[in-house]
């Protein structure tokens, strides 16, 4: 018995996803940058030449090493109180990625919960939740974040809470829309007939099918969170000195713009590269995960 049947197993979902994702050069570049950032963030204590808050009084506003007056002890130069810029940037990657993680986790968790409630219960609960989200959307995001920080007091934790609240409506709306389209499908009806309870329907049956747009939004949410936190830090309403947060570093550096371009240039560049990487990857994920948008 010779069975030389052609075994054409379909590729697993992960492989299929990867083959789509791989075609987008920008997305792969974004992923690469994010991987490097992760390594830098985790390894900052070992990679950084100096502790981030250590002040070298003999080396104030030293230019980058390759310029006149630079010193390879401080590859990217020092700031106005003699702290090594490179070390602060490396530790800043830690702060920024942490901000992204916490904000996205908070807003994703709350957004999914509220979206599921709105989508499953409809009626009064739905109206209440969605009207509340409309109100949050009516305010420009940075303004709302500033208002919340004004109440809670300026600190990194409060800035993260504020940003999580500000981005919440996007997750709620996405979840609700996805739930509404899933709930009409036969498999939901079938499992209801089979006696599945409400919680099972919500979290086991429906939620996994709503995840694709949420994953994309969460990736883009990372970049928004990092950008907004940097903006709040820059306005003095976010992380407080001497935290090596990139936006806060920029605010400190502003007054030295005429004398020391490097203290202004590098932190901003770090923000731009990080945000760009997450946006690139988010776009790639959207193309790979959302069949409707596939080219």
């Amino acid at each position: 018995m010779t069975e030389h049947a052609l075994t054409l197993t379909p590729p697993g979902p992960l492989r299929e996803f990867w083959s789509h994702f791989r075609q987008n050069a920008g997305a792969v570049a974004g992923l690469l940058v994010i991987t490097v950032l992760l390594v830098v963030a985790l390894g900052a204590p070992w990679l950084a030449p100096h502790p981030p808050a250590e002040q070298y009084r003999d080396a104030l506003l030293l230019p980058p090493a390759w310029l006149d007056g630079g010193n390879w002890r401080f590859p990217l130069g020092t700031d106005d109180i003699g702290r090594d810029l490179l070390s602060r940037l490396l530790f800043g990657a830690r702060v920024s990625l942490l901000i992204g993680c916490i904000v996205v986790t908070l807003s994703l968790a709350a957004g999914i919960l509220l979206g599921l409630l709105a989508g499953f219960f409809r009626g009064l609960i739905d109206t209440l939740i969605m009207r509340l989200m409309d109100i949050l959307l009516a305010l420009p995001s940075l303004l709302l974040a500033i208002a919340i920080v004004a109440v809670l007091g300026p600190s990194l934790n409060n800035a993260m809470i504020a940003i999580a609240v500000v981005v919440l409506p996007h997750y709620v709306r996405l979840t609700r829309a996805a739930v509404l389209s899933e709930i009409a499908k036969d498999y939901v009806m079938a499992s209801q007939v089979a006696g599945a309870g409400l919680l099972r329907q919500m979290f086991v049956n429906v939620l996994p099918n709503c995840l694709a747009p949420l994953i994309v939004q969460a990736t883009l949410g990372f970049s928004a969170a990092i950008l907004d936190a940097a903006a709040l830090g820059f306005l003095g309403l976010g992380a407080q000195p001497p935290t090596p947060e990139w936006g806060t570093m920029l605010a400190d550096a502003r007054q030295f713009i005429q004398r020391a371009w490097w203290v202004v240039t590098f932190p901003g560049l770090a923000i731009l590269i990080t945000v760009l990487a997450f946006n690139l990857m988010g776009d790639g994920l959207r193309d790979a995960l959302d069949p409707k948008l596939k080219r």
Partner: protein, 336 residues
């Protein structure tokens, strides 16, 4: 159309009430005694404290205070600034033209560059030009604009000395405000030197504020046009032998513009949020800088009123965009 308008206005009422609730909550959520701010460092004796609490209505139940607040807001009374002792509404009205001028200039910059860039990218799809536009717009979209502002100041103000670093106009000019928009007022006064000064002050902030909208508009125009170009009626237009310019410029663009108009409208919120950063950086005397200054001075009535007013402006503009949308696209109007 009237029904559409009424329905849309009806939706606005609960949202507005919600925003007033947020603005109201702002003052009441701040921990501590509300009078402490008014009292300053000297403090108040207990008897006066009780009397002031009563006078300001802080001894009433919260729902009563909220109703009073709404009543006052509807009558245009948004409280008095703790610092300047001016009505908040008056302060806002004095400063708003500066923000309006900056936002209009930024939007003009974004549309004038963004639309052609998006159209070119779509028409030359897959070429170097297309990739350049995509790359630049993605970078612009990811830009921390406060850093971008610093870079531009570094290059154009510090290195080249082309533009001033801050303010709306050089101090030696005094222009009687008519519209509040300096570009128009200087022209009305016939003072061309002042006009040039105002333009030089406006350019950098407008570029900074317009960067993100520019990126969004270019991206949206490109993808909307690519979508439309695939439609049958465009193929028909081409088959009829119309010139490419006419096919793109008249037939395709008209439909492609619908989502672009929406996106432009949605950018108003982005602009006002961006104005907070841009105005702070360029010392532009508008509502963004005023809000941040008020927060730093703990002038809570000003913050409260400012947030309410900015939110109202955003809601009004969104309403206008929706109406405009209904006008351009009959399908929306008759959808419900």
């Amino acid at each position: 159309m009237l029904l559409f308008l009424l329905r849309r206005l009806g939706l606005l009422v609960p949202t507005f009430l919600g925003v007033t609730a947020i603005a109201f909550a702002l003052i009441h959520l701040i921990p501590g005694d509300p009078l402490e701010l008014l009292a300053g460092e000297r403090g108040i004796d207990p008897e006066r404290h009780a009397r002031m609490l009563h006078e300001l209505g802080f001894d009433q139940p919260l729902w009563r205070q909220y109703l009073d607040y709404i009543g006052a807001v509807v009558q245009g009374n948004l409280g008095t600034s703790l610092i300047t002792r001016q009505p908040v509404l008056d302060e806002f009205m004095t400063l708003f033209p500066a923000t309006l001028e900056l936002s209009l200039a930024a939007m003009l910059f974004a549309v004038l560059l963004g639309l052609p860039a998006g159209i070119l990218a779509a028409v030359k799809r897959g070429t170097v030009l297309d990739h350049t536009v995509i790359g630049i717009s993605l970078t612009g979209y990811s830009m921390p604009i406060f850093w971008w502002a610093l870079l531009l100041i570094l290059l154009f103000s510090v290195q080249l000395g082309w533009t001033p670093v801050s303010g709306r106009i050089a101090v030696e000019f005094y222009i009687e405000p008519v519209t509040g928009l300096l570009l128009i007022d200087t022209l009305l006064a016939g003072d061309y030197e002042a006009f040039r000064s105002a333009v030089r002050h406006l350019i950098l902030p407008a570029i900074v504020l317009g960067t993100i909208p520019l990126a969004v508009i270019a991206r949206m125009t490109r993808s909307a046009l690519l979508e439309v170009i695939r439609e049958d009626y465009i193929r028909v237009a081409r088959a009829k032998g119309l010139s490419p310019l006419r096919v793109i410029g008249v037939h395709a663009l008209r439909n492609a513009l619908i989502p672009v108009v929406t996106v432009i409208g949605l950018q108003v919120g982005t602009l006002l949020a961006g104005a907070i950063l841009t105005e702070t950086l360029f010392a532009w005397p508008g509502i963004g800088k005023w809000l941040i200054d008020s927060i730093n001075r703990r002038d809570y009535p000003a913050v409260q009123g400012g947030i309410l007013l900015v939110a109202s402006v955003v809601m009004l503009v969104n309403l206008l965009v929706d109406l405009l949308y209904g006008l351009i696209n009959p399908r929306i109007r008759h959808a419900h």
